[in-house]
Amino acid sequence: MADISDHPRETFRISMLLYDARYRSLTIQVVAAMLIMLFLAQLVDNTVTNLAVLGKDISFTFLWSTAGYDINQQTIPFTSQDTHARAALVGILNTLLVAVLGCILATVIGVFAGVLRLSKNWLVARVMTFYVECMRNTPLLIWILIVFAVMTEATPQPRDFREGGTAAMIFGDSVAVTNRGVFIPNPIWADGSGIVVAILILSIIGIFVLRYVARKRQEDTGQQLPVLRLSLAMLIVPVTLAFFALGRPITLDYPVLGGFNFEGGLQVRNSFIALWLALSLYTSAFIAEIVRSGILAVSKGQTEAAFALGIQPNRTMQLIILPQALRVIIPPLISQFLNLTKNSSLALAVGYMDARSTLGGITVNQTGRELEGILLLGIFYLITSLIISSAMNFYNSGVKLKER
C-alpha cells in the first residue's frame, strides 16, 4: 500500500494572485475597488472644481425660501407664499395621485382586455389584439398628447352649456366635460362625516375578520358561511344607517354654469385627465399581456384534474387556477405599476404639476440649484420604486415554489 499523504503544501507565490483561482478573485476585486475609488474621487473632484468655478456651493436651504409660483393642481393647500419644500410636497402628492389612480384604472382595463383576448369569440379576441398592439407599439408620449388634444380641442366650451347650447351635462346634470376641464360634484364634509368614514373603515376591517373566521370555521367543521352576502351587508348597512342617523353630514356640491365658466364642484384639469387616461390605457395593454400569459401559464391538466375531483367550475377558478396564475401575474404586474409611476414624469408634456415639474422644474429654474433639485427628485423616485419593489420581493418570497 502506497502512502496516501497530503499534497505537499505549496508556498504562496506572487504569481498565484493571477493564476490561482483561490486568490484571483481577490486580485480582481482589489483592482476594481481601486478603479471605482479613482472614478468616484475624480467625479467629486470635478464637481467641486466646477462648482467653485461657477461660484456655487451645495446647500439645501433654498427649500425653505418662498416659492413664489402657483400650482394649479393642489391636493393640499398651497399659495405662492409657501416654501419650495411645500411646493415639492404638492408635486410629490400629485405624482402619487396620478400614479395610484392610474394603477387602479390600468389594472381594471388590463384585466378586462387580457381576459377578452383569450375569449373564444373570434371577433372580440381580434378587437382586443388590435387594441393591445396599437397601445404597445406606439410611444406613450403620443397617447398623452392625443388625449390632451382631444380634451382641449374636441370638447365643448363652457358657454356651449347655456340654454339652447350644443352641449349638455351628463350623469343627471352632475358632470360637465368642457375644454377647461371636467367639472364633477365636490363632496362637502360637514360635522359628523368623520364618524361615517370611521364606520366605513371599521366595517371593511370587519369584513376581513369575517373572511378569516369563515375560513377557519370551514377548515375546522366543514360548514360554509355565506361570506359574500354577509360582507356586502356589513359594507352597506352600518354606513347607511350612520349616514342618515347623523343627518346626512356628507353632501355634494354640484357644478353650476356661472358667467363664463362653471362654478362650484370640483374642477379636474385636462392635464390631469390626459395624463391619467393615457397612462392607464398605455399600461393596461402591458397588463393585458401579463394577465393573458398568466392564465395561459396554468396548464390545462390542472383544470382537468380539478374537474376530475368533482370541483365546480367557479371553485376551480378560485381555488386552482387563480392562485397559480397570480403567482405568474403579480411580479410583472407590480413592475408595470412601477413603470407607470415613473412614466408619470411625462406630465411635463401637458403641464401637469408633478414632482418633476415643481421640484425638478420651476424650483430648479428659479433657484438655479439644479444639482440639489435633481438629486432630491432622483431620491424621491428611487425611494418610491424601492418601496414598491421590496413589496414585490416580499410577496414573491411568500408564493415562491419551494424547490431544492
Partner: protein, 497 residues
C-alpha cells in the same frame, strides 16, 4: 349461428358519404362556433360589431375623404365645405411636412439637387461653382435654394437631397441582416462591424480619414493584443493592447509635460487630409432631427446596451461581493429613476461631473444615457434567463472543466439568452419608443417637430393627422421588432412539442 338466418337484409356495400347537414359545416359552422356559441357570446359579438362599426364609420370616411393638396388648415376646411363633406382629414399637412418629420432640419444636398432637377436655372445663375462655390452670398444662396425647393417635388428631394441618411439606413439594413437571419453568409458580419464607421461618415460627414483612422486604430489595438498574447501571455497581451490604444487615441506623455508627440491619430489625420482632402460636408448634431434621430438613438442604444446589459447581469450573479454590489446598485439606481430625469441629468448636470472645460455633443450624451438606462433593464431580463436555467447546467459546465468564461459562452449564455428573447426585444421596443422623450431636452424628435408644426399659423389646430403619421411610423418599427422576436423564438425552439 342462429340469428344470421333470420336477418332479412345485410348491406354489403358502403353508402357514399353524405354532405353534413347545413349548420355544422362551412362558414355557418365557423360562425356558430366562433361568434354565436351561446347567448353571452352572441351578445359580445353584437357589442363588438357595434363598437367596430361606430369607430370605422367615423374613421374611414374621414381618412379616405382626406384632402391632400392644401396650403393651410383653413384652406383644407374650405375645400371640405366646398365638397360638402361632413368631416375630412387634412393630409395636406403630412404631404407638405413629411420630409421635415423624417429628417428634422438635416440639410439637403443642394448641389446634387440643383444639378439633377434645376440644371437650367443653375446654368442661368452661373453654374454650381458660382452658386455653391462662393460666388453667391448667403442671402442669394438661400433664395436660390428655396426657389429650387418650391420647384422640385418632395419625392425627388427625399431621394436625392437626403441621399446620405437614406444610404446610411439602407446600409443599416444590410449590416443588420446577417445578425438577424442566420441563413445569410457569415462573411457579411465583417460589414456589420465596419458599418458604424460608414454610418458616422455618411451622417456627420467631414473628413473621411477620421472614421477610417479610428477603425484602423481599434483594429491595431486588437491585433497587437492578440499577437502579443501569443508570446507574453494574456495579461501581457492586454497591457500591450492598452499601450497601443493609448498612443493612438490618448496622450500618455501628457502627465510629464511632453505634448505634440501623441496621440498619433490627429497627426496622421492632418497628414492624410493634406495629401488627399476627401470627405463630405460636415453636419453638426444640432441639425439632426425627426424620425432619423429616433432611429439613430434607438439603434445605437440597442447595439451598445446588449453587451453592457449581459455584463451587468453576469456581474450581478458574480461570487465576488464587490463586483456584485457595484452591479446591483448600478442597476437599481438606474431603474429606480425615470428616463426623463436621467436625460435632464445628461443635459444639465453632466457638465458638473466632467473635467472643467470639457464639453461634448448633446446627442452623444443622450445616446450614452439611453444606453445605460436600457442596459440596466436588459440586465434584469438576462438575470431572469440565467436564474431560469436549471442548476444542473452550471454543474455540468463545471464538471466538464470549463473555466468561467468558456462555460458562460458555450453553455449558459446561449440557453439563458434564448429564454430571455421576448424580454430583450420588449426592452428594445421600449428603448425605441423612449427616444421620443429627447424632445424634453431640446432635441428635435418627431413629436417635437409636430408641436413646432402645430405652432405655425397655417397648421394651428391640427393634431390627428400628425399624430397618426408619427404613431404609424413608430408602430411599423416596433411591430416588426415584436414579430421578429416571435420568429426567433420559433426558430430557436429545440424542445419537441
Amino acid at each position: 349461428m342462429t340469428s344470421t338466418s333470420k336477418v332479412a337484409f345485410v348491406r354489403a356495400t358502403m353508402l357514399p358519404e353524405q354532405a353534413p347537414p347545413p349548420g355544422v359545416a362551412g362558414p355557418v359552422k365557423w360562425l356558430r362556433e366562433n361568434l354565436f356559441s351561446g347567448w353571452f357570446n352572441s351578445l359580445m359579438t353584437v357589442l363588438a360589431i357595434y363598437i367596430v362599426w361606430s369607430v370605422l364609420s367615423g374613421m374611414l370616411p374621414w381618412a379616405f375623404n382626406g384632402i391632400w393638396d392644401a396650403g393651410s388648415l383653413n384652406e383644407c376646411r374650405e375645400i371640405r365645405d366646398a365638397r360638402g363633406l361632413e368631416s375630412a382629414a387634412c393630409w395636406a399637412v403630412v404631404n407638405e411636412r413629411w420630409l421635415q418629420m423624417l429628417f428634422g432640419f438635416y440639410p439637403t444636398d443642394n448641389p446634387v439637387l440643383a444639378r439633377l432637377f434645376y440644371a437650367e436655372e443653375l446654368a442661368a445663375a452661373g453654374g454650381a461653382e458660382v452658386v455653391f462655390g462662393g460666388g453667391f452670398n448667403a442671402t442669394q444662396q438661400v433664395e436660390f435654394i428655396s426657389a429650387m425647393k418650391d420647384d422640385v417635388s418632395n419625392a425627388a428631394i427625399f431621394v436625392f437631397g437626403y441621399w446620405r441618411p437614406l444610404a446610411a439606413l439602407a446600409l443599416l439594413v444590410v449590416a443588420v441582416a446577417p445578425v438577424l437571419y442566420s441563413n445569410l453568409p457569415r462573411s457579411l458580419l465583417i460589414f456589420s462591424l465596419v458599418y458604424p464607421f460608414i454610418a458616422f461618415f455618411l451622417l456627420w460627414g467631414g473628413s473621411v480619414w477620421l472614421p477610417v483612422l479610428v477603425a484602423l486604430g481599434l483594429l491595431a489595438t486588437i491585433m497587437a493584443g492578440r499577437y502579443a498574447s501569443a508570446f507574453v501571455g494574456s495579461l501581457g497581451g492586454l497591457i500591450v493592447s492598452l499601450a497601443v490604444f493609448a498612443i493612438i487615441f490618448m496622450n500618455p506623455l501628457g502627465a510629464i509635460g511632453i505634448d505634440g508627440l501623441f496621440p498619433l491619430l490627429p497627426q496622421l489625420r492632418g497628414a492624410l487630409d493634406g495629401a488627399m482632402p476627401w470627405g463630405l460636408p460636415y453636419t453638426a448634431s444640432e441639425n439632426f432631427g425627426g424620425f432619423m434621430l429616433a432611429i439613430i438613438i434607438g439603434t445605437s442604444g440597442i447595439v451598445l446596451s446588449l453587451p453592457l446589459g449581459i455584463a451587468l447581469a453576469l456581474g450581478r450573479q458574480s461570487s465576488m461581493p464587490l463586483i456584485k454590489w457595484v452591479c446591483v446598485s448600478f442597476i437599481e439606481v438606474i431603474r429606480g429613476v425615470p428616463l426623463i430625469v436621467w436625460l435632464f441629468t445628461a443635459s444639465t448636470l453632466l457638465n458638473y461631473f466632467l473635467p472643467p472645460g470639457t464639453t461634448f455633443d448633446l446627442l452623444l450624451r443622450v445616446i450614452i444615457m439611453v444606453t445605460l438606462f436600457a442596459s440596466a433593464y436588459l440586465a434584469e431580463v438576462v438575470r431572469g434567463g440565467l436564474a431560469a436555467l436549471p442548476k444542473g447546467q452550471y454543474e455540468a459546465a463545471d464538471s466538464l472543466g470549463l473555466d468561467y468564461w468558456k462555460s458562460m459562452r458555450l453553455i449558459i449564455l446561449p440557453q439563458a439568452l434564448k429564454i430571455s428573447i421576448p424580454g430583450i426585444v420588449n426592452t428594445f421596443i421600449g428603448l425605441f419608443k423612449d427616444t421620443t422623450l429627447v424632445v424634453f431636452i431640446g432635441l428635435r424628435d418627431p413629436l417635437g417637430l409636430t408641436n413646432a408644426i402645430r405652432a405655425t399659423s397655417e397648421w394651428n389646430g391640427i393634431y390627428w393627422e400628425l399624430y397618426i403619421f408619427v404613431g404609424g411610423l413608430f408602430f411599423m418599427f416596433c411591430f416588426f421588432m415584436s414579430r421578429y422576436s416571435m420568429y426567433l423564438e420559433r426558430r430557436l425552439r429545440t424542445d419537441h412539442r
